[in-house]
């Protein structure tokens, strides 16, 4: 662990721990829902990468914005979302964050500044940078964090917005979660040169950090967020991490691109939750029993939320053409000029 026990107070540590456990619990349940064919569509598990979302989001306020990805549950939880509204969304229920219209790949939580997951790889890079533009123009002092994967660095959009962010000193942090794979392909096969150098070429300060170490991530994030607020941004962070599951929940037989040994090694030696828990114990901040208690409590929370979501109602059919246009109740009559 990068930080020593004195820098943060106990409450902060425990919140970080709990948030990581909440993400893991959310994912375990989501995976279970999928495997038992209760979840429509498919979904991408964040398990293994918890320290990234939590380390960064703990450095942000509710007014700071984030944009998220297809692998977005972790960011959503870390930014403060509620289990019930999340599970409802995953099941396409009316009480979901997006009234069931978005699902796993588009979950957004406006109340906590999460501008949404995105099913277009790299698709939110402009959005995050634009949020930072609002922050600069309206002098709000807010910061925007753009989460994306190593695979997304191949999208040209990133270079376009980095250039503008650098020219205009926008308060945006590009957070690349390098989990070693983009779908079924190793990162080195799809990324030439160096990721940090790519940002630096635009005059953007770049950092590389161990994405399994929540304290290291948080410490860096605190610093960069504070500097971005003062107009010293943009910044780039590469976070080295690992996804435990397949690319999506259906990606089961994956030996052809990734060995079981490699997976086991990360899970046993580099798990962000286990390791942080051990550190907390070592520092005398919690006992092993207290950790178990936290884990159990969160697990129960998640299961209750799942049960709630399963019982919840689908949106009524008449909502199908609502929300196409803000201010228009039903798009179908509106576009035919009937509602004028």
């Amino acid at each position: 662990m990068a930080a020593d026990g004195s820098k943060h107070n106990t409450e902060d540590y425990l919140r970080m721990y709990r948030q990581m456990v909440r993400i893991r619990a959310f994912e375990d349940n989501a995976n279970q829902l999928y495997l038992s064919a209760k979840m429509p569509g498919l979904t991408h598990m964040y398990s293994g990468q918890e320290a990234v979302a939590v380390g960064i989001c703990e450095a942000l306020t509710d007014d700071d914005r984030i944009t998220s990805t297809h692998r977005g549950h972790g960011h959503c939880v870390a930014k403060g979302a509620d289990f019930k509204a999340m599970f409802c969304e995953l099941l396409g229920k009316a009480e979901g964050y997006c009234r069931g219209k978005g699902g796993s790949m588009h979950i957004a939580d406006q109340s906590h500044g999460n501008l949404g997951a995105n099913a277009i790889v790299g698709g939110s890079m402009g959005i995050a940078t634009g949020a930072a533009l609002t922050a600069k123009l309206q002098k709000t002092g807010h910061v925007a964090v753009c989460f994306f994967g190593d695979g997304a660095t191949a999208q040209g959009l990133w270079y376009e917005v980095m250039n503008m962010a650098a020219l205009w000193k926008l308060p945006v942090i590009y957070a690349c979660e390098n989990n070693g794979y983009s779908e079924y392909t190793k990162t080195e096969e799809i990324a030439a040169g160096s990721l940090t150098a790519r940002a630096e070429a635009f005059g953007i300060e770049a950092h590389s950090v161990d994405g399994q170490d929540v304290l290291a991530v948080n410490e860096l994030a605190q610093k960069l967020v504070a500097r971005a607020r003062k107009g010293e941004g943009p910044f780039f962070i590469e976070l080295k991490t690992y996804r435990y599951h397949g690319h999506h929940v259906g990606d089961i037989n994956r030996d052809y691109y990734r060995s079981k040994d490699e997976e086991a090694a990360w899970k046993t030696t580099r798990d962000p939750i286990t390791n942080f828990g051990k550190w907390l114990e070592g520092q005398g901040i919690v006992t092993a029993d207290e950790l178990v208690e936290i884990n159990n409590e969160i697990k129960a929370d998640a299961e209750a939320a799942v049960a709630y979501a399963e019982a919840a109602a689908y949106p009524p059919g008449e909502e199908v053409d609502a929300h196409v246009f803000a201010g228009v109740d039903h798009a179908l009559t509106y576009i035919d000029g009937a509602a004028k």
Partner: protein, 332 residues
């Protein structure tokens, strides 16, 4: 008080007025500040509003459209200047996957109040990549509103409505009309979306013309009047929403309709408008709804060829005469 001003000036006034009224409005695009765009539409704005609100960008269309989406989601009301309508292909993902769907995907939680202003129109000898009229593409995508001003008057009124709209709106100006003058009130006015404009009443045939095809239809109607044919001319003004009631009313009255639009004919705007009229006014029609669009070829550079590709008043009048005469060209 009404004076005559150019379409450029009308757009400029609309933007300036709205920027004065609402400080969350800003303008972003390539060479929109000092240079005032290649068409000089935005000249003077940077002097009044400064470089914070009139923002010159690098040549990064997907990038700055994406940023506009994010800015719009967070309390700004960006107006994006896309220098040529042909570049809309570059921004389709940000426009159609992001801007158009965000409100829906978020179940109404997030809004994207942004305007993308761009242009259309051939015959400037600008060849295949600077002459396209691509409004059909965006009209197909749910979540986008689409406006097609046909004169300085519409350009101003529709632009102001667009800027105040809480949704992404795409406005296509005809780049050949920037210097055309039309009467525009001094007083503030807005043109609501979804209200077609009946420019000329008639009884024998309805000519529906979008953007500058309105003038083409008006000229055709004048020529037809000399032949004793009374043509009604309608400008839909917005494609999404489309004022179907007004179009249908006219079709039911005249029983004959021609739809004229400068986009390619094939799988374009005219097919939709014609189909809706056929579908909903079928039993009132004396003849098939005809369609005139840009020829289904990339726009050629050579003046000798380019002029053949766009609908002209003569072509519209000729089609109208044959319809009124009851010539059943395709009856075989």
């Amino acid at each position: 008080m009404t004076r005559e001003i150019t379409l450029s000036k009308a757009v400029n006034e609309a933007i300036a007025e709205e920027m004065r009224r609402d400080e969350t409005v800003f303008l972003i695009g390539e060479d929109v500040a000092e240079a005032g765009t290649p068409f000089k539409v935005t000249s003077g704005l940077v002097e009044e509003f400064g470089t914070d609100r009139v923002i010159d960008t690098p040549i990064s269309e997907p990038g700055f459209v994406g940023m506009a989406v994010g800015a719009a989601m967070t309390g700004s009301r960006p107006i994006v200047d896309l220098m040529f309508g042909d570049f809309i292909y570059l921004v389709m993902d940000q426009l159609c996957n992001q801007a158009a769907k965000t409100h829906y995907m978020s179940g109404g939680k997030l809004k994207v109040p942004m305007v993308l202003r761009t242009n259309l129109g051939a015959t400037r000898r600008s060849a295949a990549q600077h002459s396209q009229s691509l409004h059909a593409l965006v009209a197909h995508i749910p979540g986008l509103k689409v406006a097609m001003p046909s004169s300085a008057y519409e350009a101003k009124g529709l632009m102001k409505t667009a800027i105040r709209d809480d949704n992404p709106v795409v406005i296509f100006e005809d780049k050949l009309m920037y210097n055309d003058k039309a009467p525009v009130p001094e007083e503030e006015y807005l043109i609501p979306f979804g209200e077609a404009n009946v420019l000329r009443e008639g009884t024998d045939i309805t000519l529906i013309g979008t953007s500058s095809m309105r003038q083409v239809c008006e000229k055709a109607a004048e020529a037809l009047a000399k032949d004793g044919i009374s043509a009604e001319v309608i400008d839909p003004r917005t494609l999404v929403p489309l004022d179907e009631p007004t179009l249908l009313k006219s079709a039911r009255k005249t029983s004959r309709v021609i739809v004229v639009d400068e986009g390619h004919r094939n799988f374009g705007v005219t097919g939709e408008i014609a189909s809706r009229i056929n579908e909903k006014a079928f039993y009132h029609l004396d003849a098939p709804v005809l369609r005139l669009g840009a020829m289904d070829v990339p726009v050629p550079f050579s003046p000798a060829l380019e002029d053949l590709t766009v609908p002209t008043p003569d072509a519209v009048a000729a089609a109208a005469r044959s319809l009124v005469a009851g010539e059943m060209t395709h009856a075989a």
